[in-house]
């Protein structure tokens, strides 16, 4: 842990550097404990609070996030291979990603034409450029017939700007009529789109401060008139604490369906992402990463999360930490398994691992000498859904039941079935699989881990029982990855 924060993570910039140092030193002060205790968690949280605020995450959002972190962190077990600090980073990072929304959402154009999209936002946030970027994407990727129209009658040459961009990318723009009001232009835009068979209509609007009553009302009027499929709030990634006001006002007064953050190619920490996303509850539907018309990208919450934390290497750090955590867990389990101590908890863990690795099919397919098993599995109709069901059953058990499955009597079975939405038959089947697996684990234990691999590779090995094998891959994780790497 100590090394992780030394030098490597410090960014060139002083301010960020000091922050990571600060957080780093708190992490380093944390004593290695079996569980994260309240005072440790709170001391980390108070430093992270500063870091987030310096990253321009709005205060209410910081509070919300850290409350979630607190709840998740206190009492959390620390795996011996990782430090308390690593555990905390992982928890904070996960929460950041969760708040940012892991759901990738793009703009859906599958509606009756013309599908209209309205851009709104503050002055200078990047609406016009983003409109052109979207238009280009719709033409090139979605093969749509697109028209753009500027309703910006306020800023000098705003409509000419959109027209010029349209010419650059070969997208039509609504002819400019100088004396027209924005409402009249909106009407003309819809009619033109309808009459001339455009599939997508992009409406650029004038920038407005979110506390300007008149202009906010006008935006709502346009929206009601056009009834757009998307109202995209375009916001600057350099925005500070005001992000919450802007987000709340536009969302409440106009109503937005998504957010696009611009100038993400800058070096701001991007706290506005978190604020915007959290306040509107709407997904981030794209990011602007440059001035050119191609510079529009999909949003990746993980990247923004590490950027907000302000530690250059945070992603790899976190991945390393979590890999360590997982590897250590797996090691613990396979150790116990090889000693013949295999509980239902271990089994649930195996199911989870299997699913995390991309599902049964993919894992089994990778393993050497596994083709036969794969066929058997397919014929036995074992799929990921079943894994989930088994997991659900196990999680409906008490801890005592998971460790001592022999105490599970009929009334317990009924309770478990009810809790997991299954029936007693399912519980029986699961317990049978468990007994068989535990038996095999004992045998494997005698063979040693080398023996496990050999047994697996040998298609004729009598140990190849499909019920048992299904649960093996992660138990031999480390050996498997070695084998796999050797083949490269």
């Amino acid at each position: 842990m100590v090394n992780v924060f030394n030098g490597k993570l410090l960014l060139g910039d002083d301010m960020f550097g000091r922050l990571s140092e600060r957080i780093g030193s708190v992490f380093n002060r944390l004593k290695q404990r079996r569980k994260l205790n309240e005072s440790d968690v709170l001391s980390v949280i108070s430093e992270v609070r500063v870091a987030l605020l310096d990253a321009d995450v709005s205060l209410p959002v910081v509070n919300l996030l850290l409350e979630r972190v607190r709840k998740r962190a206190i009492g959390r077990e620390v795996i011996s291979a990782v430090s308390s600090g690593q555990m905390m980073i992982k928890i904070i990072y996960d929460e950041l990603v969760a708040v940012l929304g892991s759901d990738k959402q793009s703009i859906n154009l599958d509606y009756a034409a013309p599908v209209s999209i309205m851009m709104v936002g503050l002055q200078g946030s990047g609406k016009t450029t983003t409109a052109a970027k979207l238009a280009k994407r719709f033409v090139n990727q979605d093969h749509k017939k697109v028209i753009m129209a500027s309703l910006d009658t306020t800023r000098p040459a705003a409509r000419e700007q959109l027209r010029t961009l349209g010419e650059q990318i070969g997208v039509d723009t609504l002819p400019i009529i100088h004396e027209e009001t924005s409402i009249a232009t909106a009407k003309r835009a819809i009619n033109t789109a309808k009459l001339q068979g455009y599939e997508v209509l992009i409406l650029d609007t004038a920038g407005r401060t979110s506390i300007n009553d008149l202009l906010m009302t006008e935006a709502k009027l346009v929206k009601d008139l056009v009834n757009p499929h998307e109202v995209l709030l375009v916001a600057d990634a350099l925005t500070g604490q005001d992000a919450v006001n802007t987000a709340a006002n536009f969302n409440e007064r106009v109503g937005v369906t998504g957010v696009i953050l611009t100038r993400v190619d800058g070096d701001s920490r991007g706290g506005a992402f978190l604020s915007m996303r959290n306040v509107t509850g709407k997904p981030i539907k794209g990011i602007g990463v440059g001035e050119k018309v191609n510079d529009l990208e999909d949003f990746h919450p993980e990247r923004i999360a590490s950027r907000i934390l302000g530690m250059g290497d945070i992603v790899s750090l976190v991945e390393k930490a979590s890999q360590t955590i997982e590897a250590k867990e797996a090691e613990n389990i396979s150790d116990r398994m090889l000693k013949g101590a295999f509980t239902l908890e271990d089994m649930a863990y195996q199911f989870r691992q299997l699913r995390n690795l991309g599902g049964l099919g993919s894992v089994i397919g990778f393993l050497p000498g596994m083709s036969k098993l794969q066929k058997q599995l397919t014929s036995a109709n074992i799929d990921d859904k079943q894994l989930k069901r088994q997991e659900a059953i196990i999680s409906s058990m008490t801890r005592t039941e998971r460790i001592n499955p022999q105490i599970i009597n009929v009334s317990r079975k009924r309770r478990i079935a009810q809790g997991s939405g299954t029936d007693v038959g399912d519980i029986n089947r699961l317990l049978k699989t468990y007994t068989e697996m535990a038996k095999i684990m004992k045998k494997f234990g005698k063979l040693g881990s080398k023996g496990v691999i050999n047994a697996l590779i040998d298609d004729n090995n009598p140990l190849l029982n499909k019920d048992a094998m299904l649960h093996m891959p992660s138990a031999i994780d480390s050996d498997y990855s070695r084998l796999h790497n050797n083949r490269k």
């Binding site: 910039d13 301010m15 500063v50 605020l53 310096d54 990253a55 321009d56 709005s58 205060l59 503050l122 002055q123 200078g124 946030s125 990047g126 016009t128 009658t153 306020t154 800023r155 000098p156 040459a157 705003a158 000419e160 700007q161 959109l162 027209r163 010029t164 961009l165 650059q168 401060t209 979110s210 506390i211 300007n212 600057d236 350099l238 925005t239 500070g240 604490q241 005001d242 006001n245 802007t246 006002n249 100038r263 190619d265 800058g266 070096d267 701001s268 920490r269 706290g271 506005a272 001035e291």
Partner: protein
């Protein structure tokens, strides 16, 4: 033509305009402080919360800590009112801002060359347009150079401002070399004996090394004609900007020797508190604030007005 005078009635003084803009945005801050001091005494928790309230105005953690630290040292009665605490805070803010409040006056050189720089969309063009209107109305002869040859219709945008101010706008076709254009403009300004030449540049993010180099080149080229120029290099900052304003200021300053700041869009919901922390950290002159899109919506920076507006204190 579009209405382009001040968006509010011009009978209202600009102080009132600035204050009403700022006060809307500082209402939350005030409510917050009010809530704080009816609930708590000036204990640690209160100071912490107060610190956070300042942070939500974009003052930044450092400045907020410093300001609340000052408050913590001061002796207050236990039954401190929210108004009292606001006044105390505003006084401290005035102290920070007063030394940097220096209006931009284009005197001492002819032509006086003003270069506007900043990130995209911060308000450079609009600010120069407003300055052109104001200085021509004071009887100066002004020339504008449309050196944003990159952004679509940027030249047209400045030309409209040129019409409003009735000043010439020097331009070249889209994509032309900005430095060469600046050079020509300076020649023309000299030839026509203009009092002021204002150079608008394309917005650029400070971490784009190549674009920053281009800006430095533009300055070098101007200096070939007049090594005292530009006489003012103004960094235009968007009032909604957060802590990135620090890096912006630092890098633009290193690259083109920024001599002063103008902060725009303070008519919005943003509280512009970053101004306070900037004054504290870099101490660059704060020339003016933008409070709207009309030609009258640029005002000299006044420390007291700003601080009092920020803290919601009515005069």
């Amino acid at each position: 033509m579009i209405q382009h005078k001040s968006s509010n009635s011009s009978s209202k003084g600009w102080l009132t305009r600035l204050r009403s803009g700022l006060s809307k945005s500082s209402r939350l801050l005030i409510d917050g402080i009010g809530e704080l001091f009816t609930k708590h005494r000036l204990d640690k928790v209160t100071l912490k919360e107060l610190e956070e309230l300042l942070i939500t105005a974009d003052l930044g953690v450092e400045t907020a800590v410093k300001l609340t630290g000052n408050l913590a040292c001061k002796k207050f009665k236990n039954d401190l009112t929210s108004a009292e605490i606001r006044i105390a805070l505003a006084e401290d803010i005035v102290e920070i801002l007063d030394p940097v409040a220096q209006p931009l006056r284009p005197f001492g050189h002819k032509p006086f060359v003003v270069l506007a720089v900043g990130v995209n969309g911060s308000g450079k063009t609009t600010t120069l347009g407003k300055l052109a209107c104001q200085w021509t109305s004071e009887g100066m002869s002004v020339m504008l150079a449309a050196c944003d040859t990159f952004r679509a219709a940027a030249v047209e945008q400045l030309k409209i401002w040129g019409e409003r101010a009735q000043v010439p706008v020097i331009d070249k076709p889209y994509g032309s070399d900005a430095a060469a254009l600046a050079f020509d403009a300076l020649l023309k300004a000299k030839a026509t004996a203009s009092d002021v030449l204002m150079i608008d540049t394309a917005g650029r993010l400070q971490n784009k090394t190549q674009l920053m180099e281009e800006l430095a080149k533009l300055v070098r080229v101007i200096k070939k004609q007049d090594d005292t120029a530009p006489h003012a290099t103004v960094l235009v900052l968007d009032g909604t900007v957060g802590q990135n304003a620090h890096v912006q200021t630092q890098v633009f300053r290193e690259m083109v020797n920024v001599t002063g700041l103008i902060i725009t869009k303070l008519d919005g919901s943003s509280r512009g508190g970053v101004v306070v922390s900037l004054a504290q950290s870099v101490g660059l002159p704060m020339h003016a604030v933008g409070v709207g899109e009309g030609e009258d919506d640029l005002h000299s920076f006044d420390a007291r007005v700003f601080a009092h507006s920020l803290m919601g204190i009515s005069e």
